[in-house]
Symmetry: C2
Subunit: 211 residues, 2 copies
């Protein structure tokens, strides 16, 4: 018997981040591996000390698995995927780890810079500063995917789940349009029933939270 | 017998990044665990297709371990630390993973934004845009370290090695001065003989490469 998993997310968020809060990644993984979970919340407006005690940056998600509390969605994914086909053993596992870290450290930060500049601040100077590195990384990633369906030859892994979710960010503002290879890769990943279920469940959570 | 490890780094870099190229992290880990390695190079000026084939973003380091080629310094550290005291088993291992990802995804990107704005571009608008998030993350990280010597209660792990190396970046321009707790943590980590050896070896590599 696996320990029960509790995902902790916010009690409410504004419209813009709905469907993008990172508990989505964890929900998606748990749907992929068929592991049930429950959801608890912390307040977004008026963050409490107990939240920072469990997630020192005041972010979500964090999870409780048995007696362990764990934050950082990337670490949660790697921890929960262990021993499942989404994180293979051996060299394929090392390559999965490599692409998880690439998503978190070589792609997401540049995509996030663009997102903050464009969607949060809408500041032309910051957008122009953020574009070249995002463009470079997306071009390089598309080159990698030119000859393969998923990042690791063995098939869909937790690295694809994470990378596809990262690619949803620029896709919001049509920034994937110049990269048909990346758009197709993202669409392949999002076509998985586990994504649809996770997305619907996160949106239902915000629906219940109210406008 | 462990497979031999080859670190691939650049053949030359300008003065500014010397001592900061990320092969340092891998050298440091290998010194900590007493595992020998050899060094090979790829050209920085005139990057070659064979480099991108092994590291699709054209960066360094990447490593060869037996038949496996692996990039992303964070993934290399986690892969090589497996089975050593620097990456414990069980819950302490999950927490180590959590702090490795925190260093890579919640601290380094904001520190890097500041570094690019300040050290590469010296652009006041970009510096001002980068400061608030870096300041917030450094403050939160210092709060975490207020009651502990290392990030994970069990002792020094690969997460401290990585986080301390990330903190060296803002320290270049005295940006750690307002955070005595972080400065002390960084100093504790850098006092380790393995860091000194790794740093000296990287600097000797650039020395040999010429000005």
């Amino acid at each position: 018997m696996s320990d029960p998993v509790t995902i902790v997310t916010f009690d409410w968020v504004p419209d813009m981040p709905r469907g993008f809060v990172r508990d989505l990644r964890v929900r998606w993984l748990l749907e992929e591996i068929g592991r049930p979970y429950t959801v608890e919340t912390v307040p977004l407006r008026g963050k409490v000390a107990d939240h920072f005690r469990q997630q020192p940056f005041g972010q979500v998600p964090f999870v409780r698995v048995g007696g362990l509390t764990l934050f950082e969605s990337g670490a949660i994914l790697l921890h929960l995927a262990k021993g499942t086909p989404l994180l293979p053993e051996g060299d394929a596992g090392a390559q999965t780890l490599q692409w998880v870290i690439a998503a978190l450290n070589s792609v997401e930060p540049w995509v996030t810079n663009w997102m903050i500049a464009r969607l949060f601040r809408n500041d032309p100077v910051l957008i122009e500063a953020a574009m070249p590195t995002m463009t470079l990384r997306l071009t390089q990633l598309q080159d990698v995917l030119a000859d393969r369906e998923w990042l690791v030859p063995q098939g869909f892994t937790v690295a694809d789940l994470l990378m596809a979710d990262v690619l949803r960010i620029p896709d919001r503002d049509d920034q994937l349009a110049p990269y048909p290879g990346l758009a197709a890769y993202k669409a392949r990943a999002l076509a998985r029933p586990a994504f649809a279920k996770a997305y619907a469940d996160q949106m239902a959570h915000w629906q219940k939270a109210g406008p």
